[in-house]
């Protein structure tokens, strides 16, 4: 049941992590939180979330590197990744092509400032 799936929210802005988490919890998702890329990888390996909402610019390890690590791992590659970025124009790499031509290893991305309702739709779509 998608309502019980675990979503990992990763951003170095704790206020945004809380806002997104509260919205996800209201939608009956389980939520885990991380505040940089290294902590995110630890949580991903430990908890195997169904989907990761991943900021790009973070200390220690950026979102692209986390995304590549997930997608290049046989054990983790099925985890859906949604990138949050204020620099959508510079999304890099190749395996996924967005409708407007941007490419990324992630399953989806959403430009900042994010519309929380739009993000919830994306999460729900991927979890279903």
């Amino acid at each position: 049941m998608s309502e019980q799936k675990l979503i990992l929210v990763v951003d170095d802005d704790p206020d945004l992590v809380e806002a997104v988490s509260m919205k996800l919890e209201a939608k009956k998702f389980r939520v885990a939180k991380a505040y940089d890329g290294v902590e995110a990888m630890d949580r991903i390996k430990e908890e195997k979330p169904a989907l990761v909402i991943l900021d790009v610019m973070m200390p220690r390890k950026n979102g692209w590197d986390v995304c590549e690590e997930i997608k290049n791992s046989d054990a983790l590659k099925d985890i859906a990744v949604v990138l949050l970025t204020a620099v959508a124009d510079s999304v890099k790499t190749t395996s996924y092509t967005h409708h407007d031509g941007k490419t990324t290893l992630a399953d989806d991305y959403i430009p900042k400032p994010i519309d929380l309702d739009e993000l919830m739709e994306i999460v729900t779509d991927h979890c279903n």
């Binding site: 170095d12 802005d13 704790p14 206020d15 945004l16 992590v17 809380e18 806002a19 939180k33 991380a34 505040y35 940089d36 290294v38 902590e39 630890d42 949580r43 610019m57 200390p59 220690r60 950026n62 970025t85 204020a86 620099v87 124009d89 510079s90 900042k112 400032p113 994010i114 519309d115 929380l116 309702d117 739009e118």
Partner: protein, 311 residues
């Protein structure tokens, strides 16, 4: 004593503190407006506007020291400070209560304490940094893989930002983008004026409010004249004790608010244009918090639309 679980402690170093105490009717341009005009970002700021007095306090990156020291009303010797934040608080009274009790018991002076949606930030003198971190580590439990307290921006990110500054698009926006403007009407505003030592008791009392399973929405404390601290706590109704007044709460946050000048000034301008008085204001992290008189929250929310975009 049982440790309280949190996810992280963050340390902001190399900052200076500026503040101003004024009596209403004094014809002075607010310090936050002057800083905006000089394009100086406030890493955190707090405003108490109660009765006839207004206390404003903020901390700035150290690189702005010389520029800020020349501003009329600012001390020429801006003290070195650092900001320690804990997160998330989840509106749990135990978090600010424990922090205040800890600071009061240890006799550690702070120049500002202010909350955001997720964080509680306290600005202390740099020399007290290690002591405060160590006290926090004993009072709060962190997950084993927590983020380091002090975050260095990676070199490759720095290089990337030079080419694609994340904030570039937002500095030129017509209206400041937010993730949404929230409003909570009919809350209780509790006020305490006390010495630093007495803050330990106030913190104890605040932590005890957690038993009632009620939330707090905003906390702000700053020293005023005669070294007495003014502590404000905005809570759910019926939290216990006698509130100073009822009030409405407005909060919002947006991308990179913590790195940008002019956010608080714009919010205050919007409310002034809408003739909505502000009792308390705080900004820290990526959040702005505003406490307005009961019944004026909707007016405040409407007034903010002239300066901020809500999805």
């Amino acid at each position: 004593m049982k440790q309280i679980s949190i996810n992280g402690i963050r340390l902001g170093r190399k900052m200076v503190h500026a503040g101003r105490y004024s009596i209403s009717g004094e014809n002075t341009v607010p310090l936050y407006q002057i800083l905006s005009e000089h394009r100086i970002n406030m890493v955190c700021a707090g405003l108490h506007s109660i009765n006839t007095a207004q206390v404003f306090s903020c901390c700035l990156e150290e690189k702005h020291r010389k520029q800020a020291a020349r501003i009329p009303g600012c001390s020429p010797d801006l003290p070195d400070v650092c900001m320690v934040s804990i997160y998330p608080h989840h509106g749990n009274h135990q978090v600010p209560g424990t922090l205040l009790r800890m600071l009061g018991h240890a006799g550690i002076r702070f120049v500002q304490l202010v909350s955001s949606h997720a964080m509680i930030c306290v600005v202390i003198e740099t020399r007290d940094q290690d002591r405060v971190i160590s006290l926090l580590e004993s009072a709060f439990a962190l997950p084993p893989s927590h983020t380091p307290y002090y975050q260095e921006i990676e070199e490759d990110i720095s290089r990337f930002l030079q080419k694609y500054p994340e904030t570039r698009a937002f500095y030129v926006e017509e209206k400041i983008k937010t993730y949404g403007i929230g409003r909570m009407p009919g809350l209780e505003l509790h006020q305490t004026r006390c010495t630093l030592k007495e803050l330990a008791d106030a913190g104890e009392k605040m932590a005890g409010m957690a038993r009632l399973d009620k939330k707090f929405y905003f906390v702000s404390a700053m020293p005023g004249p005669k070294d007495l601290y003014d502590l404000f706590l905005l809570t759910d109704p019926d939290t216990g004790g006698t509130p100073a007044m009822t009030a409405d709460f407005i909060s919002f946050h947006g991308p990179h608010f913590g790195d940008r000048y002019k956010i608080l000034g714009t919010a205050m301008d919007c409310l002034a244009a809408g003739r909505v008085p502000v009792i308390l204001a705080g900004c820290t992290g990526a959040s702005i918090s505003l406490v307005v008189p009961a019944g004026r929250g909707q007016d405040a929310q409407n007034a903010l639309v002239s300066g901020f975009e809500s999805p």
